[in-house]
C-alpha cells in the first residue's frame, strides 16, 4: 500500500479531530497539512514552523496579559520576530511556572489568567472548591484542563481548549502512524497500558483518547476514576494512612493487570488478531518478566506493535535500558525491534517526538515545533551538545507554548541512521539533575505501586 492510501485510512478515522480546511490558519497548515510530519523538506518545514509560531506569538502577546508583560520585561514584541532566525528571541516560560498554582477559587482564576483568549462561561460550585471540582467545571464548559504530576506530588496544570487538545491528539497519532508505516492498520486490537482516558483528567490517561478511535476493541490497564487526590496519594510513597492504603490496594491490583495482559495476548493470538501495546513500558516489562519466569513466549511477529512513552523507570532507582527492553519484547513476544518505538512528549505542549524504526532516534516534527537545547545560562547551544530541552510550539492556542523543560537531551541536525530530514534527539532523555522525576509512565507506575522485586 502506498503512503497516501495508508494515510487516507488514518485520516478517515480522525475527521473529528480536524477542523474544516477552509478555517485553517498557519498553525493548522503546519500541523494538519504535511502528510508525514517527519519528512517535510527542511526549507518547507522552517517556513511552516515560522508562520505558525509567529501567528501564535502575536496572538499570545496581544491576548494574554501575563505573557504580554513577560515579553515587555524581556524587551521583545511581535515586530522583533520577522524571520526564522528571530525565533530564538521568543521569551520562554520555564515549565515550573505551571506547577506554581494556588488552590480553591484562586486556582480557577489562575487557570483563567494563564489561558489565552475568550473563556466559555464557567460556573464553580462551593465556597472552597477542590482542584478536581475546578477542573470538572472548566471541562464541563468545554475546556480540556489536564494535569500531570512529579514525584514530589506537585501537579502541573495546563488549561487547553478542545481545539488545542484535538491538535495534540492528532499530532501524536499521526506521528506514530507515519513512523509505523506500513505497519499500522485500523483492525489492530489495542491494549492501553494507561488509565481509561474517559475516566480521568490525568494527561497520561487522556492521551489514549485517539487510540480508541484508530484501533479496534481497545482494552485499558486501569479502568477506574483517577483524580488529583489519588495521584497525590500514589506519588506520596505510602506516607500517611491513606497513602499506605492506596499503595496496598495498588500492589494487589498490579498482579491482576499483568494477568489480564497475558490473557489478552493469548486471546488475540488464538484469534490471529493484530495487536498494539500503547503506554507505560514498565507494565509490558513486568508482563515479559512474568512470561520469562514461566518459560513462556509468543510469536506475535508482524502482527504486533509496541508504542511506549513516559519514561523508563521500573523501580525507584532503576531504569530499563531501552535496547534491552526491545530485545526482551522480541524474544518473548516475537515483536521485532523496529516495531517497538518510543514516544516523547509532555503535558506542557502538543510536541510529540517519535522514534524512527531504523535507529530509534527521536524525530522532531519541525513543521510546527522549533526545538532548542539550552545551556546553564539558558542560551541556545546548537546541535550536538547536551543541555536542557526547550521548544516553541506553533500549534498551541490555549497558552503560550514556548516552554523550557527540565529534560536533559542532546539534539542532532539530522538522524545519523535514517534518511528523514529534520532534527532528532538522541535516545535516552533524562531529567536535569536536582529536578524531580516525572513522566506519564512514572505516574502510572506509582499508581499501581510496582516494585518488581516484590
Amino acid at each position: 500500500m502506498g503512503y497516501a492510501d495508508y494515510l487516507n485510512g488514518f485520516e478517515k478515522l480522525v475527521t473529528g479531530y480536524v477542523p474544516e480546511r477552509s478555517s485553517w490558519g498557519p498553525p493548522e497548515h503546519a500541523l494538519y497539512g504535511p502528510p508525514d510530519p517527519y519528512r517535510v523538506p527542511t526549507e518547507e518545514a522552517n517556513d511552516l514552523c515560522f508562520k505558525a509560531i509567529k501567528f501564535q506569538f502575536d496572538r499570545h502577546f496581544h491576548n494574554n496579559r501575563m505573557y504580554h508583560d513577560f515579553c515587555l520585561e524581556s524587551n521583545v514584541c511581535p515586530e522583533d520576530i520577522t524571520s526564522f532566525q528571530d525565533l530564538c528571541k521568543v521569551p520562554l516560560i520555564p515549565n515550573e511556572f505551571f506547577k506554581d498554582c494556588p488552590s480553591g477559587k484562586d486556582f480557577a482564576l489562575w487557570l483563567a489568567n494563564v489561558y489565552t483568549g475568550e473563556l466559555p462561561q464557567i460556573q464553580i460550585k462551593g465556597a472552597n472548591p477542590t482542584t478536581d471540582e475546578v477542573i470538572k467545571a472548566f471541562n464541563d464548559a468545554g475546556m480540556a484542563v489536564f494535569f500531570s504530576s512529579g514525584t514530589g506530588g506537585r501537579h502541573t496544570f495546563m488549561p487547553r481548549d478542545m481545539r488545542s487538545f484535538q491538535m495534540n491528539e492528532y499530532a501524536m497519532a499521526k506521528g506514530v502512524v507515519a513512523m509505523f508505516y506500513p505497519h499500522w492498520n485500523q483492525n489492530m486490537h489495542g491494549y492501553l497500558l494507561l488509565p481509561n482516558p474517559f475516566k480521568t483528567n490525568l494527561f497520561a490517561g487522556r492521551l489514549g483518547t485517539i487510540f480508541v478511535d484508530i484501533m479496534k476493541e481497545v482494552e485499558m490497564a486501569i479502568d477506574r476514576e483517577i483524580d488529583t487526590e489519588l495521584i497525590k496519594l500514589s506519588m506520596s510513597d505510602g506516607k500517611g494512612l491513606k497513602g499506605r492504603m492506596v499503595n496496598y490496594i495498588s500492589k494487589k491490583r498490579h498482579q491482576k493487570i499483568i494477568n489480564d495482559i497475558i490473557s489478552w495476548i493469548e486471546k488475540n493470538q488464538r484469534e490471529g488478531n493484530e495487536m498494539a501495546f500503547v503506554g507505560a513500558p514498565f507494565l509490558l516489562y513486568a508482563t515479559i518478566k512474568k512470561l520469562k519466569k514461566e518459560g513462556r513466549s509468543f510469536d506475535i511477529g508482524e502482527r504486533g506493535a509496541v508504542l511506549t512513552g513516559g519514561g523508563w523507570k521500573i523501580q525507584e532507582h532503576q531504569r530499563i535500558p531501552e535496547s534491552e527492553f526491545r530485545n526482551d519484547v522480541e524474544s518473548v513476544l516475537g515483536i521485532r525491534p523496529e516495531h517497538c518505538l518510543d514516544l516523547y512528549g509532555m503535558v506542557e505542549g502538543n510536541v510529540w517526538l517519535t522514534q524512527c524504526p531504523e535507529g530509534h532516534y527521536l524525530h522532531i516534527p519541525n513543521c510546527y515545533v522549533h526545538p532548542m537545547v539550552l545551556d546553564d545560562s539558558y542560551q541556545s547551544l546548537g546541535y550536538g551538545k547536551v543541555g536542557r530541552f526547550a521548544f516553541l510550539d506553533g500549534s498551541m492556542y490555549s497558552y503560550p507554548g514556548f516552554i523550557i523543560t527540565n529534560d536533559r537531551v542532546s539534539m542532532l541536525e539530522r538522524c545519523p541512521v535514517c534518511g528523514r530530514p529534520g532534527p532528532v534527539l538522541e535516545p535516552g532523555v533524562t531529567r536535569v539533575p536536582g529536578k524531580e522525576s516525572r513522566g506519564c509512565a512514572e505516574e502510572v507506575r506509582k499508581m499501581i505501586s510496582v516494585d518488581m522485586k516484590r
Binding site: 496579559r65 513577560f70 516560560i93 482564576l109 489562575w110 494563564v114 464557567i122 464553580i124
Partner: protein, 325 residues
C-alpha cells in the same frame, strides 16, 4: 517627644502582627535563656584570647552640609520624619544632595541612594540609633541601612516606607548568620524563624519598588545569592516570609530599640560572634567574586544557577468565571 496624634498618625504604635511576633519571640527567648543559663553565661563574653570584631572604616567621605541645600519639608505620609529616621538631619541632606536630590528623576535618585547604602554602608549587628549617627559610622543592621535609604529618599521628596516581616532563611544564610553562635542558633531553631527582618520600599512612577539594601555584594557572593538590584526582593530569594507577618510601616515602631538593646545586653558576645562571622564571610565573598571574573560575571553565574526568569501572574477576576457560594 511625639504627641498622641503623631504617635498614631506616624505609625509608632506597633501593629498587631508586630506585637504578636514580639510576644512569641520574647517567650521563646526567655525559654532559651532559662534552659541554657550556664551556656549563656559562657557565651555572653568573648574570651580574652578569642578573636574580636573590629569595625571596618567608613567606606565614604562625609560631604559638608551647606546652607541652601534643598530637602523635602512635607508633612505628608511617607515624606515626614519618623522614629530614628529624621531626614532633616544636615548629614542626610548633604548626602542626598550629593546623590542628586532634586536634580535627577525620582528613579535615578532612588537608584543612586540604593547603590550608596547597599554598596558603601556595611552590615553590622548593633543597637538602634538615629539615622545621622548611622551615616557617620557607615555601618548597621538591616534596620539601620533601610532607615538610611528611606531617609535619603524622603529628603529628596520621594515617598519611602518600611516592609517588615518574620522570616526563615536559606541554608547558606543560616550557616553564616545563625550557626556561628549557639545562643542565636537555639533561639532561631526553637522558633523556626527569625523574628524581624526588613526591607525598604520606595514609590517611583506610581509603583512601590522594594529595596533590599542590607547585604553587600561580597556578602551575597559568600551566600551564593545574586547581587540584587533595586526592585528585587529578598523574599523568595534568600528569605521566606512567615505567612501573616508582612507589615508595611511608615516608621519603625516603639519597642524595637528596647528589644534590640535587651538582646545586646543579654548576649553581647553572641552579637559580636555574628559580626566576626559576617566579616569573615565578606572576605570569602570578595575572593569568590574575583575568582568568578568580577561582579558582573559572578552575578551572571548566580542568576543562571537560580534558574530561568518566570512570568508574573496577577490573578484578576473574570466575568466568565462565576462562583456559587
Amino acid at each position: 517627644m511625639a504627641n498622641l496624634w503623631e504617635i498614631k498618625a506616624n505609625g509608632y504604635m506597633p501593629q498587631r502582627a508586630y506585637l504578636k511576633l514580639m510576644v512569641n519571640g520574647g517567650m521563646s527567648l526567655s525559654k532559651v535563656i532559662l534552659l541554657n543559663l550556664r551556656e549563656l553565661r559562657r557565651l555572653r563574653v568573648i574570651p580574652s584570647d578569642g578573636e574580636r570584631y573590629s569595625r571596618p572604616s567608613r567606606q565614604y567621605e562625609i560631604p559638608t552640609f551647606q546652607e541652601g541645600m534643598r530637602s523635602c519639608r512635607s508633612t505628608e505620609k511617607y515624606l515626614r520624619p519618623t522614629l530614628f529616621c529624621d531626614h532633616h538631619d544636615p548629614l542626610v541632606i548633604a548626602i542626598a544632595n550629593e546623590l542628586g536630590a532634586f536634580k535627577v528623576s525620582d528613579r535615578e535618585f532612588a537608584e543612586a541612594a540604593y547603590h550608596f547604602v547597599k554598596e558603601r554602608m556595611l552590615l553590622e549587628e548593633r543597637t538602634i540609633n538615629d539615622v545621622g549617627e548611622t551615616l557617620v559610622r557607615g555601618t548597621g543592621t538591616c534596620f539601620h541601612l533601610i532607615t538610611a535609604f528611606i531617609a535619603l529618599c524622603r529628603c529628596a521628596g520621594i515617598k519611602a516606607r518600611y516592609k517588615i516581616f518574620a522570616m526563615n532563611m536559606i541554608r547558606s544564610w543560616y550557616d553564616v548568620v545563625i550557626q556561628p553562635d549557639p545562643f542565636i542558633k537555639k533561639w532561631y531553631d526553637s522558633l523556626g524563624y527569625f523574628v524581624l527582618e526588613g526591607e525598604g520600599e520606595v514609590l517611583v512612577d506610581g509603583e512601590w519598588l522594594v529595596a533590599n539594601v542590607g547585604p553587600e555584594a561580597e556578602w551575597q557572593a559568600a551566600t551564593g545569592t545574586t547581587i540584587t538590584k533595586l526592585g528585587e526582593d529578598s523574599i523568595g530569594n534568600w528569605f521566606n516570609a512567615v505567612p501573616g507577618t508582612m507589615m508595611r510601616m511608615e516608621s519603625l515602631p516603639y519597642g524595637l530599640k528596647a528589644s534590640l538593646d535587651l538582646l545586646h545586653t543579654i548576649a553581647p558576645g553572641s552579637m559580636e560572634r555574628v559580626n566576626i562571622s559576617m566579616a569573615a564571610q565578606k572576605e570569602r565573598g570578595r575572593r569568590i567574586i574575583i575568582e568568578a571574573g568580577g561582579l558582573e560575571a559572578y552575578d551572571r553565574l548566580a542568576r543562571a544557577r537560580q534558574g530561568p526568569r518566570m512570568p508574573k501572574l496577577k490573578l484578576e477576576s473574570m466575568k466568565q468565571i462565576t462562583f456559587d457560594g
